[in-house]
């Protein structure tokens, strides 16, 4: 079996046509294969998120992860420095409109690859989980995965930087693709009650979905190298992710 994968830093066209940095990983097969946009978590465009992106390529998909802090710290050697620069400049949380623009640019990049089959999905973790749902209600996509995204459902408390933002669950009717949600029973944001509310909204809108709650797992349970990593749940979540994209991003 031919299993070569190419991973590299590339420049893509992001929100408002700005050139931004992204990490691309793709199988060196003629294809055609589906594509996946990876939205990194708040701590940034880090080694672990790049590893996740490569794993999607090993799984048979073209994958690209835009560096959401590319504008604030272009070319920063340490991704946590880029996160800190964005935070210092008041850019965290990143405005939704900008995130949508970055994902749209990443979708265009994937569709332009020579081995692309034209289908594209999105996946994100933590803040990126919310942004994955955001992308799926804002852009025409073929599959979406939300890994424990907070505040898709529910209003943040007063004083929280997202307070006053409309819960994006209200836009469920606009969801353009099937949604897989992966959550932990010990998470508080989103809690199992939040997940139930999301599922009710998806069912009411007639949207294809599978929402899994892993018993004993907490927020960030797929984050390798972290205290929250929950091996049994993460391994099963990977199986679900590859199956989901395999089903909905096939040619």
């Amino acid at each position: 079996m031919y299993d070569a994968v190419l991973s590299e830093t590339v420049t893509i066209s992001g929100h408002e046509g700005d050139a931004i940095e992204a990490y691309s990983a793709r199988p060196l097969t003629p294809g055609p294969v589906g594509g996946v946009v990876v939205i990194h978590h708040l701590p940034g465009y880090d080694r672990q998120s790049k590893e996740f992106t490569r794993s999607l390529a090993v799984g048979g998909f073209n994958a690209v992860m835009p560096n959401l802090y590319s504008r604030e710290a272009p070319g920063a050697a340490d991704p946590s420095d880029a996160m800190a620069a964005a935070r210092s400049q008041g850019v965290i949380p990143i405005p939704d409109e900008r995130v949508i623009g970055e994902v749209e640019g990443a979708v265009d990049y994937l569709k332009g690859l020579s081995n692309a089959n034209g289908k594209v999905g999105v996946i994100g973790h933590c803040s990126g989980g919310r942004q994955s749902f955001l992308a799926a209600v804002s852009l025409p996509l073929d599959a979406a995965v939300d890994c424990y995204g907070g505040f898709v459902v529910g209003s943040p408390p007063a004083g929280h930087p997202l307070a006053g933002w409309e819960p994006i669950v209200n836009r469920t009717a606009d969801l353009s693709c099937p949604l897989l949600g992966l959550f932990g029973s010990e998470d508080k944001f989103p809690s199992p009650e939040h997940v139930a509310e999301l599922q009710a909204a998806l069912v009411a809108a007639g949207k294809t979905n599978v929402l899994r709650i892993y018993e004993g797992a907490n927020h960030g349970f797929m984050q390798v190298d972290s205290a929250r990593y929950h091996a049994e749940s993460a391994v099963d979540a990977w199986r679900e992710i590859l199956n989901w994209f395999g089903r909905y991003l096939a040619a």
Binding site: D81, A82, S88, P93, S127, F151, D187, N218, S226, A227
Partner: protein, 86 residues
Amino acid sequence: MCTYLTEKIEISGSAKGGSGWFRVTDGSVYFDHPVHAPYGHTLNIDFLAPAQGPSARVAVELSAESARALMKAIEAVLDSAPAGLE
């Protein structure tokens, strides 16, 4: 969850990073996911010199308990310092 909670302050002083001492002008204090510390959320402080680029940064990620102890220690030291030295 990501709290996104950040307090930004102007500061004046110096910090020592991997390439030696540098003057710092900005601080960020936030309670959010750490990059390195083995906790779900930590109190994080960045001492920054944005004019020198993103890598001009000294960062700490502390457990909430450690951060509260640090606050008390800072207050205790400042309060007990002889008057007129600030």
